[in-house]
Symmetry: C2
Subunit: 375 residues, 2 copies
Amino acid sequence: MTTESRKQARVAVVGGGVIGLAVAWRAAVAGHAVTLFDPEPAAGASWVAGGMLAPVAEAWPGEEAVLELGEESLAQWPQFADELTTDGADPVMNTAGTIIAAWDPGDAAQLEVLADYLRRVGRGAELVHGHELRKRVPGLTSRLRAGLVVPGDLAVDNRRLLKALLLAGERRGVDYRREWVEAVGPGTVRTESGEFDCDEVVLAAGARTGALHDELRGLVRPLKGEILRLRARRTSLPPPPMTVRAVVENRPLYLVPRSDGEVVVGATQYEAGFDETVAAGGVRELLDAAERVYPSVAEYELAETAAGLRSASTDNLPLIGRLSDGVIVATGHYRNGLLHAPVTARAVVALLDGGELPGAARAADPARVEKEASV
Amino acid sequence: MTTESRKQARVAVVGGGVIGLAVAWRAAVAGHAVTLFDPEPAAGASWVAGGMLAPVAEAWPGEEAVLELGEESLAQWPQFADELTTDGADPVMNTAGTIIAAWDPGDAAQLEVLADYLRRVGRGAELVHGHELRKRVPGLTSRLRAGLVVPGDLAVDNRRLLKALLLAGERRGVDYRREWVEAVGPGTVRTESGEFDCDEVVLAAGARTGALHDELRGLVRPLKGEILRLRARRTSLPPPPMTVRAVVENRPLYLVPRSDGEVVVGATQYEAGFDETVAAGGVRELLDAAERVYPSVAEYELAETAAGLRSASTDNLPLIGRLSDGVIVATGHYRNGLLHAPVTARAVVALLDGGELPGAARAADPARVEKEASV
C-alpha cells in the first residue's frame, strides 16, 4: 500500500473529539472516504474544555515548538471557522482578547517571567498594574497585584464547535460509527461488531490512544482536568467581556465568557488515571480562586461541573505524523486541542494526500519521542 | 360540614414532600379516602435534605416548643419507620449518633451555650476536647477546638424515606394526582384540569403554601438551602461513621453518611425568593468548610449539588392545625420536616378523625401566628 498516487483513500478515524472530528471533516472535504469511530462523538475532553485559542498566554520558556505550532494554527483559525460556518454551523468565536491577572507577589513574578519571554521571542505583551486591569474588566477584585494584557489570543465556544464539526462532517459524507475501537492494524480497525478495512487509520483517541498502538505505549498519558460552568443572574454583575486568566497562589485559573451569559471556569490539572469523575477538592479550588479574582461569581448559578482527560505527551507537543504503514497518529494535544485542530487536520490531510508534514507540524512528528523512548 | 361524627373523610392533600406523603399515608391507614396533589411527589426540599432527626443538636435557647415537638416526634420515629418498612420500604435509619465540632474559639463558645442550655433543660450533652472527637471519628482534622457528643439524635436516608412513603401510600390506596393545585377552598381544590370536591383539604405545600390561603400570607416564606452529595473513593478514607455537625467560623455544617458510601454535606441558608438554582458561592462555602473539618472529602467525587426551599414560619415552629372550615395546614417545618413527619401526620389524622391537636403539636396551632399577624 502506497500513499503517493492515491486519489481517494478509505480513512478510518479513531476518536471523535475535536481532533478526530476536524480531521474527518477536512479529509472528507479533500475527497477521502471517511469513517469515524466513537461511541459518543463530540464529547470527552473537548466537551469539557474552556475554549481558549491561546498560544501566547499558554507560552512558556523552553516550549518554543509549542508556541510556533500554536501560532500557526491560530493564524488558520479564522478561515477554519469560516469554512466550518459554511459546512456546518458557526462555532462562535470571541475576539475580545485576554488578560492575565496575578493575585500575590509570587504570582506577579510568574507574569514577569512570561512577559520577558514573550518580549525575547518577539511577541508583545503589556505588563500593567492591577488597577489598570480593573479599567478593562470592572468586576475584577481590587486586590490584584499586576496583570498582563495579551493581544491576539482568541476563544471559541467548544460545544458549539464540536456540534458544528459533527454537522459539517455529516454534510461532507463522514460516516459516524458509534462504537469503540478495540484494536488497529495497518489498514484495519477492529470493533465489537467486526473488522473494518481501510487504507489509512488515523489515531485521534486522545488519552486512550496510547493503548491502541505499541509505538505509543507510555508516550500519551491522561491528565485530568475539572471545569465549572457558571451562569450569571439577572441581578448580578455580568461576566467579564473577555477571557480572564489568573495565577492565584501559583495555580492557574481561567474564566472564559460565552455568548449566552455562561462563564467556563477552569481548570484543575492532575494525574488520576482514567478516572473522569469530578473531585470535591478540584471544584473547591476553582470556586475559591474564581471568587477571589471575580467576586460576583459567588452569586452565579453553578450550572455544571465536569471532568475531562487531556492527552499529554512527554514534551507537551502533540504527536502528529505517520506511526507505521497505514497508521497516522494525531493526539497528545494536552491543553491545546481546540487551538491545534486546524493545523493538525491540515497536517493529517497532507499525509493522506501522500505529502509530508507541513510547516510547524514537522516538529510534532512522533519520530522524536519514539526515538527517545527506545533509548 | 362537621368532622366529629365522620368515619371516612374524602381528604385532598396538597403537596407531596415528606409532610404531605406522611399525612397521606397515615390518613389512608386511618381509613380516609386520600388524594394527593403534586406534579412531582417525593421531590422538593425533602429530596434535598440531610436527613438528620436531630431535636437536640438543633436546639437553641428560646425555642423550647421546637425542642419539645422534635423530641416527641423523635420518640415516634422508630415505630413510624417500622410501620413504613411493613407498608412500603425500609427508610434506612442511622443510629450511630451525632457529634458537633467547633472550628475556632468563637465556634467553641457557641457549643458551650448549647451545652449549658441542654443541661438546663435536662438533656445531657458531653463537651469534649478536639482530640477526644478524633478518637470517635478518626478522619476529623486535628485543628478542632472542641466538640459536643449528642446522644439520641438519629438520621434517616431522606430519599429512601420519600420513596418508601410514596410506595406505602400507594399500597394503602392514596390516589396521586400529578398536577399543581392553583387554589383551595372549603371542601374544594382547583387544579388545571378542574375542581375536586372533598371533605377536608390538607395544605402541605411547604414554602408554596403561603400562596394557597389568605390566612397564611406572609406567615410562611422560602428559605433556600444548598447541599452536596460526595462519594468516597476506594482509595480514600471512608466517610465518618456517624453524623458530624460543625460550626466553622460561625457557620453551621453537617456531614451525614449514607449506607451506600455517600455523604450529604449541608447546608447553606439564605433568602432568595423561590429561586431553586445552586449558587456557586454556596457550594464553595460548603466544600471549604467540609474540607477543613474532614480533609479527605477533597478526594471524594462531587456526585451532586442541589438546592431546596425550606418553608420557614415566623417563629421556627411549624404551622399544624385547622385553618378554616374544611382546611387544615401542615407546613412551616423549616429545617425539621423529616424529623417532624410522624408527629405532624399523627396530629393531622387526629383532626381528620374529629379530635384535637395532641401533645406537643398543640403549640404548633396556626392560631398563635394568625393572632400575631392581625395585631
